[in-house]
Symmetry: C2
Subunit: 151 residues, 2 copies
DNA sequence: CTAAAACATGACCATTTTTGTCATGTTCGG
DNA sequence: CCGAACATGACAAAAATGGTCATGTTTTAG
């Protein structure tokens, strides 16, 4: 019941891209250094992100990766599902009819509700918003720190 | 990002107990047959449930397991956490300060929000309610089926 | 007090998933 | 054609999952 490292790394990389002007190309090696992601692992993850059109990659000199669509249109859920596949909190929810208690079991209903809510929250903010808010928060913290050390 | 079989089995067993009058003793072998749970596996799970005081087990002739507290006071989250430990949707949430981006990363905030909501839903109904509602729903379905076959 | 019934404990194990690494290939620009 | 960058696929170590099994302990009926 937890996000995998793949998902975690994918979100980090996407947040990195989302903080830059749309179209900016970066190299996987650089992202991996800045966000503590094993480089070769990130390479594999980036292929999945590209398949989901979340990023576009370009080979060759001056190549790299860039966002495949504006950060305003991408959510954390998009990123996770690109890497981990569709989210199902409970195996009973994977496919109708798999669980013989499907029709009447109210635990099933509860899980369905939980899953909907989870997805709702994970799509409630765009990567653009998250990146921007993080930037602001970071600046606030730095300022606070400077004031303290100055005093 | 999914409930384990342990968790799933635990919930099934607890629902079984919750549908019976408080204090009713049942045998693990019977529960395992009725709910398609590998018997030896359920035995191990039941130890964990007992440690969390969700059930009480008694050895010896006429022994078995029974609820450790009224089904009205137990939630699905209780059961899951007894078996899987505390739920953390994201590794960053496990322990403050583990993630160096903790303080400013807004993805962190989003996960925290999601986790709270998930727990909220998984505690929104007692096992007693879930068992009762399932019973009702099952009866409704049966009746509907009889009407159809009669017509 | 003894036998049988029931759960407890802990060792063990197969499989799958996760989290990578690496060698090699491909594409592109200059 | 060279070097930079990503792609692909094989490989593998480690951890988690989902069990099984032998043995031990507790309880009670008789």
């Amino acid at each position: 019941m937890q996000l995998t490292m793949s998902g975690e790394y994918a979100v980090r990389a996407m947040i990195h891209l989302s903080a830059l002007p749309f179209g900016t190309v970066v190299q996987i090696a650089d992202v991996s250094k800045e966000w503590n992601i094993p480089e070769n692992f990130l390479r594999k993850i980036s292929v999945q992100l590209a398949r989901a059109d979340l990023i576009v990659s370009q080979r060759g000199l001056n190549g790299g990766i860039r966002l495949g669509q504006p950060a305003e249109r991408i959510t954390v859920l998009d990123v996770i599902e690109a890497v981990e596949g569709n989210i199902f909190l409970n195996k009973c929810l994977v496919c109708d009819g798999v669980c013989p208690r499907d029709e009447w079991c109210q635990v099933h209903t509860l899980w369905a509700e939980a899953q909907i809510k989870l997805k709702e929250i994970l799509t409630s903010k765009s990567l653009a918003q998250l990146a921007a808010e993080s930037f602001t928060r970071k600046a606030e913290l730095n300022e606070a720190r400077q004031r303290t050390s100055a005093a």
